[in-house]
């Protein structure tokens, strides 16, 4: 089931009657979610990603715009009739029901032709529980479960009725690091197995990038970029997207272009571009640096962190926006930690220019 969002806008009126002004939570969001894909809505808090999710679920009505499931216009359809599964951030498990009762609850609501026998319900509940590995907790109450277990019950409850669209609101936010890694793989596996079009909301870019077919990066209600995770990472449309994706984050410098040469401080990092003379913001991915004795970019070495496979070099430069520059170098390189200055050359495909004012990407070619 593809999901189409058409000029979706949500405006919240001001709560305070004395202060006029309204909050545009989601602004003119248009996107077609392809059938059977896993989509990550990504952005910092307050960017409208949850509001978008709740509009797809029908729990919130869009101020304007339309939502289609397949070819059906569901904009006016109530949540009950949309056939979606939703995992709430705070689980919203019914506290008075056991895990089994919680998972079976959606099935017991089925009516008419979809009505299931008790044995069928039990079987499907058990299958769903096995899928999320909670089949040994079926008779417990939610209050007797850990946060991670509750989250998995919530996922099982959403999946058990085979929804047309599965929506997950920060599904992994309450899990510890290891379980999070494991669960996200599981969500991916479950999604692939069931083929249910899935939208999930997260503020964790790593989470979104690792399992999504496509990610949507949002900021203050406005979609910044939509694409495959790797494409968005490799080709950000603006400084916000570049900064938001990637761990460690992109290194940002103030710089300028003169006669086609890009300068960081006095260092001519890249020469021969077709960019006109102007002040620019320069972004270089950590893996975009190469140790080079004759490299143009000079930085003061702070320390070297060895992380097994890679080596992370922490250095400083006056033009850097962040206090330190972090570069990741293959550990095959021998690094002399006693030197005061490291010299880098940069990989052009990890090197981005942004307009100083608009922070939009400046695309360039090197002659």
């Amino acid at each position: 089931m593809k999901v189409v969002l058409q000029n979706l806008t949500k405006i919240f009126p001001s709560r305070n009657k004395k202060v006029k002004g309204e909050v545009v939570a989601v602004n003119d969001f248009t996107f077609e979610i392809p059938d059977g894909k896993l989509i990550g809505l990504l952005g910092p808090s307050g960017c409208g990603k949850s509001t978008t999710l709740y509009m797809i679920s029908g729990l919130q009505k869009p101020t304007s715009g339309k939502i289609f499931f397949g070819d059906d216009d569901v904009t006016e359809l109530s949540t009950e009739n949309r056939g979606i599964g939703l995992v709430f951030q705070n689980y919203a498990l019914y506290p008075h029901m056991t895990v089994k009762q919680n998972i079976m609850f959606p099935l017991q609501n089925l009516q008419g032709a979809d009505k299931l026998s008790k044995a069928e319900m039990l079987e499907r509940a058990e299958t769903a529980a096995k899928l999320v590995q909670i089949d040994d907790l079926m008779d417990r109450k939610p209050s007797e479960l850990s946060g991670g277990q509750q989250q998995r019950v919530a996922i099982a409850r959403a999946l058990v009725k085979m929804p047309r669209v599965l929506l997950l609101d920060e599904p992994l936010s309450n899990l510890d690091a290891r379980l999070r890694l494991q669960t996200r793989e599981e969500i991916r596996r479950i999604q692939k197995e069931t083929g249910i079009t899935t939208v999930f909301v997260t503020h964790d870019q790593e989470e979104a990038m690792s399992i999504s077919d496509m990610i949507v990066v949002m900021k203050l209600g406005v979609v910044q970029q939509i694409g495959k995770p790797q494409d968005v990472y490799d080709d950000p449309t603006n400084l916000f997207v570049a900064k938001f994706l990637g761990t460690p984050p992109i290194n940002v410098f103030n710089g300028r272009v003169k006669d086609g040469t890009v300068y960081i401080g006095e260092d001519a990092v890249v020469t021969g571009t077709d960019v006109s003379d102007r002040e620019v913001i320069i972004g270089i991915r950590p893996e975009g640096f190469e140790l080079d004795e004759n490299g143009p970019l000079q930085c003061t070495l702070s320390n070297v962190e060895v992380m097994g496979r890679d080596v992370s070099i922490v250095s400083k430069n006056d033009a850097s926006v962040n206090p330190v520059i972090r570069s990741i170098i293959n550990s095959d390189h021998k690094i002399d930690t006693t030197v005061e200055t490291v010299r880098y050359s940069v990989k052009l495909h990890k090197f981005f220019l942004f307009d100083k004012e608009t922070e939009e990407r400046i695309y360039f070619e090197v002659k």
């Binding site: 056939g83 599964g85 919203a92 019914y94 609850f105 609501n109 089925l110 109450k141």
Partner: protein, 314 residues
């Protein structure tokens, strides 16, 4: 450890409360038990220097009293009818109130008004609503000034005038009036407690139920009621305790007669029985009846809490 000096201070601070509790709570309880077990105890005779033997004659007398059975019956009937009816009505009204946005505050106030109104005053208004004013009622020369607003409505709907509370009225008619009045009087407190409970239920449960396409009736029975069960248990238990102490409501409608003019005392309750015993200076019998009432309330409350242990979730 608190040293001795500090302990003395603590006792001094506590003393006003302790003294008052001893005089007005502990001693009366003890005295009630004492009087109940002294044969035919009478306060007047005790003041005159008479001594009484220890025995259970008071209890035997109470149980043998013809009126005791009728008082107990009235009390039990009123309890088992009004508590479920008023709880159910309060639940429905609270859910309805909770689901409307406009006028909610005003309606809440209106529903709560009976709680702050004197129950004797309400009783008199109810009596006026059911009262037939006139004379020779039921005879050929009857003169009816007004049959009361309730009968007016019944007549308007094509029914026949019913003698609710006047001379010659039936026990059933009397009881219906009492039940209507007690239910109405009990509603505000219950609505308040249940509405408070409803408003503290996390809205997300309802969102989750919506997502799962839960029919409204099922949302009510499977989500609202279980999540409200602690409040429901509270309302039911206090309702039964209050019900067994029913007295003023009957005075409110029937006056101290405790029944229609031709059958005074017909609607008397357990508390009324105790008052009657006190009026004839039979403190022993009154105390015994009070202890029996206490025992009944204790047992009913224990049953209630046992049931609610199974029914009240979390």
């Amino acid at each position: 450890m608190v040293d001795n000096k500090q302990q003395w201070k603590a006792w001094i601070y506590l003393s006003p409360a302790i003294v008052l509790l001893l005089i007005f709570t502990v001693w009366p309880i003890f005295n009630t038990v004492r009087m109940a077990f002294l044969e035919n105890y009478s306060g007047l005779q005790a003041a005159g220097g008479k001594t009484f033997e220890f025995g259970i004659q008071n209890f035997v007398k109470v149980v043998k009293y013809r009126k005791f059975v009728s008082c107990l019956k009235n009390t039990v009937i009123l309890c088992v009818t009004t508590v479920p009816i008023s709880t159910l009505l309060a639940l429905l009204i609270a859910v309805a109130l909770n689901s409307i946005k406009p006028l909610q505050k005003i309606l809440q106030t209106i529903f709560f008004l009976p709680y702050v109104t004197n129950s004797i005053a309400i009783g008199m208004v109810f009596a006026a609503m059911f009262n037939i004013v006139g004379s020779f009622y039921g005879t050929e020369n009857e003169i009816v000034v007004t049959a009361g607003i309730v009968n007016n409505v019944i007549e308007f709907l094509g029914g026949k005038t019913i003698n609710w509370i006047n001379y010659g009225s039936t026990y059933t008619a009397n009881m219906i009036v009492m039940i209507v009045y007690i239910v109405w009087n009990a509603l505000p407190f219950k609505i308040l407690v249940l509405l408070g409970g409803l408003q503290s239920i996390n809205k997300q449960y309802y969102d989750a139920a919506k997502v799962d396409s839960t029919p409204r009736r099922r949302v009510f029975t499977h989500i609202t009621v279980p999540l409200l069960s602690p409040m429901l248990a509270y309302v039911i238990i206090t309702g039964f305790i209050g019900g067994f102490k029913e007295y003023t409501s009957i005075v409110g409608i029937f006056g101290e007669n405790m029944g229609p003019a031709d059958d005074a005392g017909r609607l008397n309750t357990m508390v009324g029985f105790i008052y009657d015993a006190l009026e004839t200076n039979s403190q022993g019998r009154a105390s015994a009846a009070a202890l029996i009432l206490f025992g009944i309330i204790l047992v009913v409350t224990m049953i209630n809490t046992q049931v609610s242990k199974k029914r009240v979730h979390y």
